[in-house]
Each structure stands twice: as C-alpha cells, then as structure tokens.
C-alpha cells in the first residue's frame, strides 16, 4: 500500500492555492464584455404587482436593459422545479405551486426577484436598481408559522387550503396508539426548532456566457451540484439540451445546503446572456444572502413517548408543522419527510413509532436543506424528549438511553430504515470518559459554591447519510434517486485523473479521493488529480450534500478503480504470457501468482496506450467509468457530551467542555475527518446558543445582517475533545459512513440537555434554541415567579 492511501493524515492538495490567493471562485471570474446584473427584490412580503416602471432606471448612465418578470414570462420558460414529490396521507399529491424565476404577477416574500438591471458596471447596476419602481397592491402577509396556521389565515397560494402543502405520515398509527394505551407513563414535549440562515462565507454568484456561433451556454455558479443545475435549468426551465449547456462550479466557498437548490439568478443570467448577447455576471451582497438564500429548519413539534414502569420505550408519536416558506425549493419537501421522519426511531428499539408532518407555506424565504437537513430536527426532539422522560421518571439520563439502545444488527425500524451496523454503548462510554462524567458532581458542587450553575448533558444520536438509495426513497414516493459517477483515467505514463460527480466546497475531496485511488492503484497521491465541478469534464453527478460524497461518490470511484485493475490484469497477462486469472494486482504491480514475473502499473498503462504488442481482443486505453447506486443509507452515530456553567445573574452560558465520541465508519483521512467534525459542532453550537433567523408579522426579516444574526465567532467556542469508535458500513465497498453533518445533528440537544440540567433546581423543564442569555435569564425568572 502507498503511504498516501486510506488512513493517512495527508496534508491537503488544495491548500497551496487557497493559502496563496490562487483559489478561483465564481466572483473571481470575469469574461470580456460582461454586463453586471443587479436583482431588484420585493420589499414587501405579499402583494400583487400592478406594474413596474423601469423608465428612470433605463435612463441611467451605463444601463443596458431592465428586464421584468413579464419579459421572462413571454419566453414561456418552465417553473423552477421541486425535486421531491410527497404523497399525502389520503394518497393525493402535494400542492406544487409555480415558481417563476422573476415574479410577474405577485410577490410572496421580501427578497422575491421582480426585475433585473443590467449595466456596464456593478455600481451602475446597483444605483439604477433603486430607480425601478414596482407598484404593489399589498396583500395580508404571513411572516410566521403561527400566523399561517391560525384558523382563517390568509393564503400564500389559493390552491393550498390552510396554507398546507402536504400532510404526510410515516409509521403504523394504530400500533403506536395501542402502545400508548398500554403504557404506564406518557411523557410529552413541545419544541421549536428555529429558523437558521446558512451563511456560507462566499456569497452566491453566477456568470453566464452565450456563444452565438455554436449556440452553447456556459454558466459558472456557486453550486454544490453543477450537473443537477444543468439538468434542472436545461431540461425543466429553459429547454436547453445538455450538450449545449455547460455548468461549472469552480472553487466554492462553503455550501452547507444553501448551494444545493436551483436558484432564480442562475436562470436570469443565463437567459439575459443570450438576450443581450453579452456575458452577464451577478454576485450577491450579504444582505441578499440573508434575504434570498434558502433558509433552514423552522419546525413546531409535539412529541410523545410511551414507557413502561422500568423506563422501556413502548411507542413514540410525533406531530410536526414544518415551514416551507413561499415557494418549493429544490430539496425542500424531502427535508421534513424522507430526511426527518425516517429518523424518528433514533438509536432506540422503540417497537411502535408514528409521525405526521404538515408542511406550511408562509411569506418568507424558501426553506431547504441546511447542514444535517431534517436529521438535526429529529435528533433534537428525540434527545430532548428522552432526557425529559428520564427526569420525570426519576431515572438517570444515561441509563434510560442504555436501557433502550438497539444492539442487534441489521435492525429494521418501524419507519422504513434498516440500520446495518453500530455500537452505541461504546461511543456512550467513550464520550462519558472524555467528558469526565464520573466526577461531574464534584464540579457542580464547586461551581455552586461560586454562585454558578453547572449542567451536564448528553445526546446519543444517529443519522442517515449517503443519500439516497433508490430502492428506499422510491418506496417512500420519491421521484428521483441519488447515485453518483466516478471515472478513472489512467494516462500513458501512469499518472491518473479521477473525475467525480461529487463536488468539494471545503471537504477536501481533491485529497481524500486521491487517497482512495492511491490505495487501490498503489501509486502516490501526488500522481493523482481529482477533477470535479464541471459538467464538461465529469460525465454526470448528483453533487455533494447529505454526507454522500465519500459513501456514494467514493464508492463509484472504487467501482471504476476495480474495472481499471481488471483490465490491467488482462493487459499484464498478455505481456507476461499468462492467463488473466493468474494475475494478481498488489503493491502497484501486476504479478503472475506464485512467480516473480510482474509488470508495474506504469508499464501496463503505457502498454494500454502504445499498443504495438497488445491483446487482439482488448480495446486500447485504460479509462473506466462506473455509477454507484447505494443499497442503503449509512448510519453514523455517536454520543456528544456537553458541560456548561451558567451565571444565574446574567443567563450567560459558558461551554466548559464539548466531548464527542463518534462512529463515522472507516476513516480515509483522520485530519480531514476531525476538521469536518469541528465545523459541524460549531454549526450545532451556533444553533443551540446563538443563531435565530426571525421575521416579524409583516414578513420583514429582522435578522438580515451580521449585526443582527449571531454567527459563531472564534471567541464563542472552545476547543473540542474528539474520540472515535468506528464500525465499518457493511454495504459499501469502502466501509465509510460520512462525517460532514455529525456535529450539527449531535450536539444541539446535548447543549440544551446540559442547560436544562443546570437549571433543573429551578424546575425549568425545557428551553428553546437559541439559549441566549436573555432566554436563560427569563427561564430562571419565570421559574422563580
């Protein structure tokens, strides 16, 4: 095996360019003669558009055109599609309202695009945009989920009665109801999983160029999945054949789910580039990112647990109202269903589980995937409920978890998934050790003597990653599945290019995917380049999200590597005058088994391309492609343990310790895995303590800048303590599970459990996220009142 193979903490191949300013992000790209686009956005949440006066803007120096929704409507483009169909309880389909890239008749949230100004410079476009006068007939806005759910509420879409997009269920309702009827105890909890705004540090951008000679378009865009954008933009919206539309997602500065969807701006610049015959570039300002990137989460949930006298879980019941915002974004409907309801069992052997979800339209920015996407919502409510149950039954929160863990695999849950492997006791034990749980009470007493409140909380969570196996999601009604492609091109001198449909926007695939190829081919990772993010280079791809890159994309690469090795054996057999069945490939050489006759990988590669002495029945070349459709989800799991110290005078929460023991399957690069865990933890702690996207009742975004939306900063966070106890995934060739979302799924309930533990002496039963000093202080005050 090469020293740059699987398991090596190899330094990243991509770092030199990022560290020296040579990264190439979308906004770094300029094309000759390009125009700058500035999007005019609605400043009201809900209105009919009576008319748009563009004359003053058009008269401004440098302005070339101002295009409206009416102009676009005349092109007859399709609607921005939603990728995931949800079937209602009664068998009917979800309500699927149209989403025009530029609103023509009505606006439905603050930030909805109503026109685009195209000018010679960015400043000219921006200045002229202020002169575009939209005449609105305002309609009653629904800024919050509560408003949209109120009886007799106005409608965001007339076709969606009660503002309900779908009413979906999972699990066996009758069996679950019976479990509750037979239960000794029923514990229930109402939780709010707040709206979050993703905030990748690179704002979205798009640059399109149309070549009138060939009829070809090129779109550079800040996407996690360029091939998917080509499919949706080309086939569903504009009607451009794939071979005439190249979509490039170059270096992308973080995604976190917000760069999955197909966005209006991608259509706008592509359309305008042909219409005006010049390249068109748009780059979001941060205030636009707040208004018009997809947001995440925003659930109101009632959850109940049925238990016997010993604390054994008998049944779980969930009802969730999930906010979808004003339009259905690409993955929006999958998040509170396939990625949420399927996780209701958690790591517990609860025999009966049932849940239903009503998805609700509001006059707010569309909601879609955000780091974890559905799974943080599930883990939060389950882990909060389990802690609450322990407290109410007088049990230790650790022991009630142990009592109910799944220990035999494979395990079929009552909510569609089959867990293949795991060891929840091991990660629980490890996390408690790392967190010095056994001496916690001493620290609590010491803090108490100083007038401070210490609390300890754990979360024993499980997630489903590597989205998404066709068979499983197809059985739930999805109309798409999510495989991945991989291609291995061996060059004549033995160097290798790996083409993948996955996309790296911080994850380090250029390093880890090279390590996989290094491991299989026995050559150094320096000899291997990974190409991603360009529809003209990789044959197809579903992109990167749902912790799928190594589990699905990596598996496709392994299948292609195996094809290369099999073909190499045939070439080597010919060169060595042996049977291919007798040739083995080890340590970078093809050897006739039991002999010292061998050919190096490089010699076989050269023979493949310089075929003067070559098998007659074999094609020249050494270039293989494979597609991989996962058989199942992967199931990373673990325990996160958090210790907090609260100042009861101010409500300030100090994170004393964050200790995590995770099972993420086989590790390709431990340095990168740790980095992914750190990032997810920061995102999860941000949700638990700081971040809150808020609209007022008029649908105005109150948290539209970094002055109003609390991002985790360096001085908000501690060092993290990490441990690993990995069990290999049983159904993919690498044994990998995925790691990018672990922190954001695992840690929020551990933080809140620790805070509630600290406040338990006041009788505080629950506190919603984010647990800001004000909320904690009020909880203490209310409990004392």
């Amino acid at each position: 095996m090469s020293s740059t193979g699987i398991g090596a903490a190899l330094k990243r191949k991509e770092d030199d360019r990022f560290l020296t300013g040579k990264g190439r992000y979308t906004d770094d790209i300029n094309r000759p003669g390009q125009l700058h686009a500035h999007i005019v956005r609605s400043n009201v949440a809900h209105a009919r558009i009576r008319g748009i006066d563009t004359s003053a803007a058009l008269a401004t120096p440098g302005v070339v055109a101002v295009l409206t929704g009416q102009d676009m409507a005349e092109e007859g483009f399709g609607s921005l599609p939603c990728g995931w169909l949800i079937t209602n309880k009664d068998g009917s389909s979800m309500v699927e309202p149209p989403h025009a890239p530029i609103a023509a008749d009505a606006v439905r949230y603050v930030g909805d695009a109503v026109a685009v100004v195209l000018a010679e410079t960015r400043e000219q476009a921006q200045a002229a945009a202020h002169l575009v006068a939209a005449d609105y007939e305002e309609l009653p806005p629904l800024g919050t989920l509560e408003q949209a759910l109120a009886p007799g509420a106005p409608l965001v879409w007339s076709e969606a009665e009660g503002n309900v997009c779908f009413d979906w269920e999972i699990g066996d309702r009758a069996a679950t109801d019976a479990a509750f009827e037979a239960a000794d105890h029923v514990v229930s909890l109402d939780v709010r999983n707040q709206r979050l705004i993703p905030n990748a540090i690179e704002p979205r951008a798009a640059l399109a160029e149309y070549d009138a000679a060939s009829g070809d378009y090129t779109l550079y865009t800040t996407s996690q999945n360029p091939h998917l954008i080509r499919l949706l933009l080309g086939a569903f919206v504009m009607g451009i054949p794939e071979h005439q539309l190249r979509v490039v997602a170059p270096d992308v500065g973080g995604g976190f789910g917000s760069k999955i969807p197909h966005y209006p701006e991608e259509v706008i610049v592509t359309w305008a580039s042909k219409r005006l015959g010049r390249p068109v570039k748009w780059t979001a300002e941060r205030s636009e990112s707040f208004l018009a990137d997809t947001h995440g989460r925003d659930h109101i949930t009632h959850i109940e647990l049925a238990l016997d006298t010993e604390g054994t879980f008998l049944g779980m019941r969930v009802n969730t109202k999930a906010n979808l915002g004003a339009y259905l974004s690409t993955f929006s409907t999958a998040v509170p269903t396939y990625l949420y309801g399927t996780l209701f069992a958690g790591p517990y052997a609860t025999p009966a589980v049932y849940g239903d979800v009503q998805a609700i339209f509001t006059n707010t920015a569309p909601l879609d995937a955000l780091r974890g996407a559905g799974r943080p919502e599930a883990s939060f409510m389950i882990e909060r409920l389990v802690d609450t149950a322990a407290r109410e039954l007088g049990m230790d929160p650790v022991e009630i978890r142990r009592k109910n863990f799944i220990r035999e695999f494979p395990y079929q849950t009552p909510v569609a998934l089959q867990y293949d492997t795991g060891d929840y006791d091991a990660t629980l034990d490890m996390a408690l050790d790392l967190a010095e749980h056994s001496t916690f009470e001493e620290r609590r007493a010491e803090a108490k003597a100083r007038g401070k409140l210490r609390g300890f909380g754990v979360s024993t969570f499980l997630e489903a990653c590597g989205i998404a196996p066709s068979a499983v999601v197809g059985s739930l009604g999805a109309r798409a599945a999510l495989y991945e492609s991989g291609q291995i091109r061996v060059h004549p001198t033995g160097s290798v290019t790996v083409f993948t449909g996955s996309h790296s926007h911080g994850q380090g695939h250029e390093t880890t995917f090279a390590q996989v190829a290094s491991e299989y081919l026995g050559i150094d990772a320096d000899q291997i380049d990974v190409v991603h993010g360009d529809s003209a280079k990789s044959s197809f791809g579903m992109g990167t999200y749902g912790s799928r890159s190594i589990a699905v994309g990596g598996s496709a690469i392994v299948l292609a590597l195996n094809k290369v090795i099999e073909k190499g054996k045939k070439i080597a057999a010919h060169l060595l005058e042996a049977s291919a069945d007798d040739v083995v490939f080890e340590d970078g050489a093809f050897t006739v088994a039991g002999t010292d006759r061998s050919k190096s990988f490089g010699e076989v590669a050269l023979a493949a391309y310089v075929p003067h002495d070559y098998p007659e029945d074999l094609e020249p070349g050494l270039d293989e492609t494979a597609f991989y459709d996962p058989k199942n989800f992967t199931y990373p799991a673990g325990t996160h343990a958090v210790e907090v110290e609260i100042d009861p005078e101010t409500g300030h929460v100090e994170l004393v310790r964050v200790a995590c023991a995770d099972d993420v399957g086989r590790v390709i690069n431990p340095m990168i895995v740790d980095g992914q865990l750190h990032g997810g933890l920061a995102h999860g702690i941000g949700q638990a303590l700081l971040e809150h996207g808020q609209y007022d009742e008029y649908g105005q975004l109150l948290t539209g800048s970094y002055l109003d939306y609390a991002m985790p900063r360096a001085d908000n966070l501690p060092f993290f303590t990490l441990g690993m106890h990995n069990t290999d995934c049983t159904h993919n060739p690498l044994g990998v599970k995925g790691v990018g979302e672990v922190g954001s799924i695992g840690v929020p309930p551990a933080v809140i459990n620790a805070i509630v533990d600290a406040l338990s002496e006041y009788g505080v039963r629950h506190i919603d996220m984010p647990a800001t000093p004000e909320r904690v202080w009020r909880a203490i005050r209310d409990a004392q009142a």
């Binding site: 030199d16 300013g21 906004d27 400043e123 300002e285 997810g680 900063r713 360096a714």
Partner: protein, 155 residues
C-alpha cells in the same frame, strides 16, 4: 475619475477608478488581485483583510483613495519565492482551512497578531480573530494554526 496609486505587494500600482471605490474593489477589479474576498457588506466577516502599512485592515471598510501612497500587502504577496510564509505553512500543517474563502483574511489578520505577539494564548487568538468569520472549521484548527504560525515567526 481620479488615478489612485499605491505600492501593492512591493510593486507600484496605479489605476483610474471612481472616487467612491473601496480598497477591496480596487484590488480585485482594477488590479485583478482576486485573493482578497468580499464576504459581507457590513465590515463584519473579515474575508477582505489586507495589510495597509503593516497593519491588518478590512479593505471593504476604507476607500482606495485613503490608501493612496500606502504599502499594501494582499494574500498574493505573503509567500516569497514560492515558499509559503510560516503562517501559511502552519495553516496547511494544522488543517486551518477548508473552503478557503475566509482564509486570506484570517491569515493576514493572524500575521498582524504574530507581529505583535509571537506566543499568543488561546484566548488572545480567539479574541483577535473575533472579526473573522469562518463557517467551515469551527475555529479549532485555526486557533492551533495561528499559535503554531506565530511561534514559527518568533523563531
């Protein structure tokens, strides 16, 4: 439009730009130095940090005209003769970057800290970097990298 001149990464540069042009746009658009990034419009995120006369500055928060005749260093000017600066090398060694977008600003901010203090504590690093947002790393490895890079700069 005024012609604005300054020394950027050791080279005299000048360009004719609108008077309202921010330093970050002067660097990116007029000089083509796209290593300096724009992450927000409220001088909060720190992706645009450069050095002006040796001190770290958010280049979105000053006009190019204010840097007239100044010595400006951007991320493109940090490595010398193809060798990473010790702070850049520490970021690579400690995996202090993921997507790379905030990285130029963080590295330039960190070099300014190390120029003042080659042995900063964890808390000093965290407080110094409070004005640099990173969404990828959770700051854990950034803090480690800055401490190691500062130590290396101190020799």
């Amino acid at each position: 439009m005024p012609v604005i001149s300054m020394t950027v990464n050791g080279t005299e540069r000048s360009a004719e730009v609108e008077g309202r042009t921010l330093l970050v746009h002067y660097l990116r658009d007029a000089l083509g130095l796209t290593g300096t990034h724009v992450g927000c419009d409220t001088s909060q995120c720190g992706a645009c940090v450069v050095h002006v006369d040796g001190r770290s500055v958010k280049s979105c928060t000053m006009l190019a005209a204010e840097a007239e005749d100044a010595q400006v260093t951007t991320i493109e000017g940090v490595a010398t003769n193809g060798e990473l600066h010790p702070m850049q090398a520490a970021f690579k060694e400690h995996h202090g970057l993921q997507c790379g977008f905030c990285t130029p600003g963080v590295v330039l901010g960190a070099i300014d800290l190390a120029n003042r203090n080659t042995d900063p504590s964890e808390q000093e690093v965290r407080e110094w970097l409070e004005g640099n947002l990173c969404r990828c790393t959770g700051y854990h490895n950034i803090v480690k990298a800055v401490q190691a890079g500062a130590n290396a700069m101190g020799g």
